[in-house]
């Protein structure tokens, strides 16, 4: 699904990723933990092709193809999804309109027929129910005036509608209350299947009690410094990152 090899990338002339490698197979859930400023969000931005993030060396293959050669929207249409750590507002553009445009773009890329407005609305309503957002949110501006938790759930709503093959969740759990955490986890778990993979960035072991990862990695200093299974997350919770000293400069 995704192979990252020796990825070196910088932002604003500052090198942030220092030879990061990661291999993700279809259906796997990889959790990424690590100290603030380690480069976790940067990884998401580099993978999705955000402007300003410069790849210096290394390669990223997505379904065997050179992903770094694609535009932001081409990667997205090919099935790469990023749930943002800080979702932005787009005033005046209704959630519904935004979702429809996104879904149309994805479906047309996959040579699927455009959904009728009726079918689309139906799917959107179902999805909003699943993330416990009232259908009224579909008519509101994208994230406009949403609370922090509502914004995060809205990200999951978008993910459900787009049915991506690789989902990167950047601290989707931060700022969520216990119920919302459950909602988000349920949403993710419902989407797990043998084809779809997830990268879950989090600071808290708690999320991983709900979304059980296949692998846990520690990202520090722009590299994966330690990998393990879900037990690693518990160890980190108990010991912090200090014991990885030397790796975490």
């Amino acid at each position: 699904m995704l192979q990252i090899r020796e990825l070196v990338a910088s932002v604003e002339g500052k090198q942030i990723l220092n030879g990061l490698s990661l291999d993700i197979k279809p259906g796997e859930v990889h959790a990424i933990m690590g100290p603030n400023g380690a480069g976790k969000s940067t990884l998401g931005n580099v993978l999705t092709g955000r402007e300003g993030y410069e790849v210096i060396s290394g390669e990223v293959l997505f379904n065997g193809e050179d992903m770094l050669a694609l535009d932001i929207e081409e990667r997205a249409r090919a099935g790469l999804f990023l749930a943002f750590q800080y979702p932005v507002e787009i005033p005046g553009v209704s959630n519904m309109e935004f979702l429809k445009a996104a879904v149309d773009a994805r479906r047309s890329h996959m040579k699927q027929e455009e959904l009728s407005s009726f079918d689309f609305m139906k799917l959107a309503r179902e999805a909003s129910k699943k993330v416990s957002l009232d259908a009224a949110f579909l008519k509101r501006g994208v994230n406009e005036g949403f609370s922090g938790g509502e914004k995060k759930r809205n990200e999951i709503l978008q993910m459900m509608m787009l049915e991506p093959s690789l989902c990167v969740l950047d601290e989707t759990d931060s700022g969520l209350d216990i119920d919302a955490l459950q909602v988000v986890a349920d949403g993710v778990n419902a989407m797990r299947d043998s084809e779809r993979s997830f990268i879950v960035v989090t600071h808290y072991q708690r999320l991983l009690d709900y979304i059980i990862p296949d692998y846990v990695h520690v990202l520090a200093n722009g590299r994966i410094v330690k990998s393990g299974d879900k037990e690693l997350a518990r160890e980190l919770e108990a010991k912090g990152y200090g014991w990885l000293e030397g790796e975490v400069a």
């Binding site: 955000r50 932005v88 553009v93 978008q158």
Partner: protein
Amino acid sequence: MSEQVESLIRQDYAAGFHSAIESDTLPPGLDEDVVRFISAAKEEPEWMLEWRLKAYRAWKEMDEPTWAHVHYPEIDFKSISYYSTPKSMKDRPKSLDEVDPELLETYEKLGIPLHEQEALAGVAVDAVFDSVSVVTTFREKLKEAGVIFCPISEAIREYPELVQKYLGSVVPQKDNFYAALNSAVFSDGSFVYIPKGVRCPMELSTYFRINELNTGQFERTLIVADEGSHVSYLEGCTAPMRDENQLHAAVVELVALDGARIKYSTVQNWYPGDKEGKGGIYNFVTKRGIAHDNASISWTQVETGSAVTWKYPSCILKGDNSVGEFYSVALTNNFQQADTGTKMIHLGKNTRSTIIAKGISAGRSDSAYRGLVRINPAAEGARNFTQCDSLLIGDRCGAHTFPYIENRNASAVIEHEATTSKVSDDQMFLCQQRGLDAEKAVSMIVNGFCREVFKELPMEFAVEAGKLLEVSLEGSVG
């Protein structure tokens, strides 16, 4: 994003073709004889000729205004031809079947299939092709309701009392340089009269199109809504691709008598010039309405075209409890310049006005909002709310706000809000990460920004306006 945003514009202007219909065009230049020729060609009564001559004489003594925040080469008024008419139209067609097929094709290229228009939602169309009104439909149905909707040239002959009473009553001949010019040489336009208590049974719509090279276009529109009547009027325009700058100086006058309501919506998409700033229409328009007791006038405009725009649809709130509204989207791209806004003149008691102005600048364009709110001493209890938002795309464009408030009554409540924002990298990234390309993303963000104004537009126009923004923004990101 700036890089992205730097490169928004390349696409042939959809309306950029020049229709090959032959015209009778007067040689360039303006003097009293030209005014007399126009008046005679229109078979106008003597009083109308005198009215025009008075305007012409006033114009000769006036200077072009220079206070607007726009720059353009001096206009040589001697090089402009002041009258033209499509040849095959000398005998007015009785129905669409009699209309020059090429003319119809022209409309179709513009996406205004008249045949469909007729059927569509009962919209009546008074199409102005160059200077002569070519097709008027639905006249019968309107007649039943007692509504008059016809070319103003016809109204001058058929309804002289009405025209004589109201023409120039809101925008006098000497009002300003361009209004005086228009008064002297206006070729045609629309006349609407809604009788007392009548709700106009359909939206009235006129499509304008400038066609002849070097022919300034001077429409004159007069809408009179008698007591307690309602009317919604739509105006939309496009123009063909050309090199020379073209002058357009229209005058629109609205009269809303006691308790009447006039809603006037415009989608303006004249040729803006190419991406180097060459060509394009000069659009110097005077639009003003007067609202008597309990009357209301609402201007909604979506301005995306023209190289230079100078336009301030205004309301004189003369009557007590009268209401004035101005909803505006002005988009400039490439080298376009717009200086637009409104004037709300509060004369009556408890008069209310609302101004929502959205300016979008992209490329190297420059747009200015210029608004005046004047509360006269007698306007007890007057209220105004103004909201003025600018959105910048890229970092080579400009937006300016010139709000003028003249309050001479202590009881007035005036609120003014203004914001300037940019299409942010974060918003662009969100859209693109969800699979939208950069252009779609910008147009969506811009459409969202304009929502408050678009919702004031009649349904068909709202859709058209959204599409228009999309086309107008093409090339502003790459």
